[in-house]
Amino acid sequence: MADDGGPTVPVETRLKDLRVSELPVMITARIVTVMRKEVVRRSDGGRRPVLSGLLSDGTATVRFTWWDPPREEIDRGTVIRAAPVSVGEFQGRVELTFGWKTRVQPASEAELPLLRPEELPRRLVRELAVHEEGFILEARVAEVEPKTVTVGTERRQIHQGLLADGTGVVAFTAWTDFRLRAGEAVRLTGVYVRSFRGRAQLVLDERTHVERVSGEGLPLPGAGFGTETTLMGVLAEGSGSERATVVGRALALQPPSGLVMRCPSCQRILKEGACRIHGSVTGNPDLRLRLALDDGTGVVTVNLDRADVERLTGHTLEMCLATLRDRPDPSIIEAELFQTLFGRRFRARGAVRRDDFGLSMNPTEVLAEPLDLARAEELLRARLPGSGR
């Protein structure tokens, strides 16, 4: 320790161990993304260059800001060592700032923190948190297929698919070909979790290590991945799901629900007779419901299209239009549709999106499913010994 009052030597710190502190640190990390900007000084209107982006050392990914960087381009993928670096916080996440005192040098791959697998925590699919890395995931490849994408001017082949363990299903994009095959069980390290369409997605790239494992404890190949019922509360604590099945009771409708008018060109729902894109048009009537299913631990809003609505409520579009002619108040239709659903138990399956409005699902399947009373009574008796005597 610097008891002598001399200058403190920055301590080399792994990114996942960073804590907000007065003491500057030394870090070694790879530049994952980088962008050059200019910030206008308020006082004199002078321009000050700044680089910002994400740094990763395999244990965590953090945002960095580099004031007055060198003029030459800094490429993505470059490994750097920097000290002294100050550690701050923005919106609850740790951030690094390089100032005029900071010395930044190129470093080599080998200087990145050595990650011993036994040091890394195990994660289950349902525990994956957006922006997380530095963990081990064991899962079975449920699906995989190649796809060609254009990145800038370059055409690249990637592999997309789904990974599953007993707790959930997550999509992945592999930028490197790991020759993954559907059905095989793998142990992954060096993967990154990003958010895509309101759910977690895994990114596999040149930093990723794939090991084939026996797959003990994982769902069997060919299992109906994502068909086991997941508690909504579990989904609420996770990062969305690529494929999940929920069972809950219909307790409310969220707007817009009921009879809607759609734009004949783009199918968007009209508001006050106008389409957001095509302006004032004559709409086509349609039925849709945003049904809030609730299982006592959470809520998932399930989007039902006309076919679902007609099948589940027994009210057809024609019946609803006839009602509207008799009693020209669309809210009556909404109420009538809701009355047929309120309190009933439904099973729904599909991708679950998580955003500021909670959880929502565009289901591939929805069906009414009353509780199996005989089975439920039996389970209850087993849980309450001493009852029924």
Partner: protein, 300 residues
């Protein structure tokens, strides 16, 4: 992430035992009622026998109705007002008692004497057929058992080292920990016992011969708690107060006894204000009296 609040499946006993409030701050923040078993309730789903409903209050521009919801563990007051038009229409339809499902907001009604009673402000009400009622009852019992199990496990091993099973939600665990802290003397076992009458005995053919229950008295019922016996003097004071209130309500236009008037008349007959408050509190608790409008009392 915000979004719609979940509807907790609770039975009357647990609901009525919930007196710890977590008040939301600001305009949009939700409030919660915390049960001794760790249900952190903004919204609840309850099932029981509802009705008959009756109007409360005299202002025709502000209709407000009320009914009792009875399940095997207790009785909860369900209300609906003009801000819940659908629930209001529905509750007005309950002229006689029938099985019903009520979804609504958890509320804590504070009496004048400082006592707090949870009531349920209905959002949606629907009558049920027998099978549906049973489905919801089973869900409520199972959900209560989940909470009892979690609270008991955390009580046995309160340390941060306790490993909740993968099925335990972190929100449920933290609510259960708070419940243990706020209700140090609550006994989860008491709640478990009250669930027994809600479990239907199994098919006797499925159980071994020695365990076949006798054909009669198969369903166990919980006896109502014996009424506390009061000294004779208390009875006298109680009937004096009730007579007084009856007199006042008969004389008044709206059918309510004015509380101030009642207090001054009681004082004239030697009943102190503190004593009257005490009696009123007990009579309201026993369901003899009610005070739907502050300062106005009548027979329930």
């Amino acid at each position: 992430m915000t979004g719609r609040e979940v509807a907790w499946r609770v039975l009357a006993q647990e609901y009525l035992a919930s007196v710890e409030e977590e008040r939301g701050e600001g305009d949009k923040m939700a409030s919660y009622l915390l049960s001794p078993l760790g249900a952190r309730m903004n919204r609840v789903l309850m099932v029981g026998t509802l009705g008959p409903a009756e109007p409360v209050g005299q202002d025709p521009a502000q209709p407000f109705w009320r009914a009792r919801l009875v399940d095997a563990t207790g009785t909860v007051t369900v209300t609906a007002g003009s801000y819940q038009p659908r629930a209001l229409t529905a509750i007005q339809g309950f002229r006689t008692s029938q099985p019903a499902l009520v979804v609504g907001k958890a509320q804590l009604f504070r009496g004048r004497d400082g006592s707090a009673t949870p009531t349920l402000r209905a959002e949606e009400i629907r009558s049920l057929v027998a099978g549906e009622r049973r489905e919801l009852e089973i869900e409520a019992v199972a959900s209560t058992l989940d909470r009892i199990g979690l609270v008991q496990r955390l009580r046995r091993d309160p340390g941060p080292g306790v490993a909740p099973t993968p099925g335990d939600l972190t929100t449920a665990v933290s609510a259960a920990r708070t419940a243990i802290e706020k209700y140090p003397h609550s006994d989860p076992e008491r709640f478990r016992e009250s669930l027994l009458p809600l479990v239907v005995p199994g098919d006797p053919r499925a159980t071994p011969a020695s365990a076949v229950p006798p054909p009669t008295k198969v369903v166990r019922r919980v006896d109502p708690a014996p009424a506390p016996t009061l000294p004779r003097a208390h009875h006298a004071q109680e009937s004096l107060l009730l007579d007084l209130l009856d007199e006042l309500s008969e004389a008044s236009e709206d059918g309510y006894a004015d509380l101030k008037e009642a207090l001054s008349r009681a004082a004239a007959r030697g009943l102190s204000e503190v004593r009257v408050e005490e009696l009123l509190g007990r009579l309201e608790e026993d369901g003899v009296l009610e005070e739907p409008i502050v300062g106005k009392v009548r027979r329930a």
